[in-house]
Amino acid sequence: MASVSVEAVRKRYGALEVIHGIDIKIPDGEFVVLVGPSGCGKSTLLRMIAGLEEISGGVVRIGDKVVNEVPSKDRDIAMVFQNYALYPHMTVRENMGFSLKLRKAERGVIAERVKKASQILGLDPYLERYPKQLSGGQRQRVAMGRAIVRNPQVFLFDEPLSNLDAKLRVQMRTEIKALHQQLKTTSIYVTHDQIEAMTMADRIVVMHDGIVEQIGSPLELYEQPANLFVAGFIGSPAINLIHGKLRRDGTRNWVATDAGVDLPLDGNAAGQDGQPVVYGIRPEHLAPSDSSGLPVTVSVVEPTGASTFVYADLSGAQICGVFAEHHGIHPGNRMNFMPRLDRVHLFDAGTGKRLAG
């Protein structure tokens, strides 16, 4: 096992730069998730760590060793691909033992390691089958088995669950996390699914347009998003963001929207009077209220069973509230959404950065 360090890494295709100097330090044994919308450069970054893409600038270290010029096969890493990339002409046993065979390991050693891995993953009954005889979830397990027999320094996962159906995805997510807790191998996991990121990661790296927007634990990103992008990306349904001007009159603070609605703030909000800001409140931090709060007109009600999503109109702005109870809300109702003031996020409207407070 080893730490991984990415220092000022850039990627250029000709004149086009797609990754603009990224710094990430991953301590030994950590499970890090790279998350972001498609095209943000997360897969490219992973492939540079794997040695499948050249590094145009900066340094990648695995352990203490700079690996920029080291070919993939000598980096002592294992990778799980989105489409599994199992060798179709080899049995499960041969697929899992392939890397050891290439390293000229003794037969006994290969058999033993494959057996151990197949027991961990519950693949024992399938060792003599070919990939085409397996279901999607089983193939995904074989791909992971192929990675763990190597006992590598680092695991790399490139959207490994994207090809599975929703139910299996949730199950495999838990399995991968359990596997990591058992093996404690440093892991870098790429996904575009923020739920996957939130549930699996020790730390999340949010990427956007080739830069890192924020690095932090799942709860840090949720509770203290550094900017509008992270606030909007993490959380489902997405955070409500309302433009307005910060007002303070000495006794209280609020945000005045252009439509003339006053959004309440608590006493110690940062920023100056008159500063254009974006007011962020997550749907789950709104509570239904009869008298006080934001006056809205309900437009759509979506019951999910466990909770109810209520989409409503706030003087022209669409906002969403998530409530544990249904409360008998119907489209057309006029009601109030009361924000939890300690959960309000304020961002500078110009830079998009979080206002400290």
Partner: protein, 280 residues
């Protein structure tokens, strides 16, 4: 079945039967002549009065002036065909691996140039090829024919194998690289096993192309012990009273190996001829 549909089916059947007869008549003719005694050769009968296998005996025992080197010439044909198939597959497999998997820079150009060579009819190159082989001092040697046929078969092999190779997911190569495989190991352990069906199809194509070749074999080879059976068959016609029945018996024997190969590999041939056609 409605009368309308039955009528349509009957019309199709009729067309099919006509095409079948059209195709089979020459083969039937070939066969009938090969079992007809010399005396009856031009009687024009649909079935000979006294059918005989004597012609085959004569051929197999080399019992005629034109058949003096029958076994040697059959061997020459086989040796040339197998050598052409092996060399073409070697060239095609290496080139398609370099173009599709190693993604060398000029790969695309090579691939397109290979296709371009098909704009030039093979017969156009007869004189240049003859001159080239003369310069190499290979005229009259079976190697001249082998090298020529490899030259003609390789562009097609490269083009087709490259089409197949492009269909193998590139992640397999990447997975193998991360598993610790060198390019040579990827070629032997991943690429060749997965390409086997298309290699069989292309190998069969090259084999039959060389087996059936007449023009270049006639041009480049001269000694009776070096020529292939196709050229030897041509020699039958160099006299006025050609022994047609022996010619036909030899022809049947000559046609059997390709028929057997087609039959054995028909599954690959059909897949090979269609799969490369459409790039999915």
């Amino acid at each position: 079945m409605s009368p309308r549909k039955a009528f349509d089916e009957a019309r199709l059947m009729l067309v099919g039967v006509l095409i079948l007869i059209w195709t089979l008549i020459p083969i039937y003719h070939l066969f009938v002549m090969s079992i007809t005694p010399q005396a009856e050769a031009f009687a024009g009968a649909v079935w000979p009065k006294s059918p005989t296998l004597d012609n085959y005996t004569t051929v197999l025992t080399q019992g005629h002036y034109f058949l003096g080197h029958f076994w040697q010439q059959l061997f020459n044909s086989a040796m040339v065909a197998v050598a052409v198939a092996v060399l073409t597959l070697t060239v095609g497999a290496c080139a398609s691996f370099a173009i599709s998997r190693l993604r060398v820079r000029i790969g695309e150009t090579v691939s397109n140039l290979a296709l371009l060579t098909y704009l030039i009819p093979a017969a156009f190159l007869a004189i240049p090829m003859y001159a080239t082989m003369g310069q190499y001092g290979l005229l009259g040697s079976r190697w001249s024919l082998i090298l020529t046929m490899v030259t003609f078969a390789s562009p097609y092999a490269i083009w087709m194998l490259r089409q197949y190779a492009d269909k193998l997911p590139y992640e397999l190569d990447e997975a193998a690289r991360i598993d610790g495989a060198s390019p040579i190991q990827i070629f032997w352990l991943i690429y060749l096993p997965l390409m086997m069906p298309s290699m069989v199809a292309i190998g069969t194509y090259a084999l039959l192309l060389a087996w059936n070749e007449y023009l270049y074999a006639f041009l480049l080879l001269s000694a009776d012990t070096e020529i292939t059976l196709s050229v030897a068959l041509g020699h039958f016609l160099s006299t006025d009273d050609a022994p047609w029945n022996l010619l036909m018996a030899t022809g049947i024997i000559y046609a059997l190996p390709p028929a057997a190969i087609y039959y054995a590999f028909r599954r690959y041939m059909v897949a090979g001829l269609t799969a490369g056609a459409v790039k999915s």
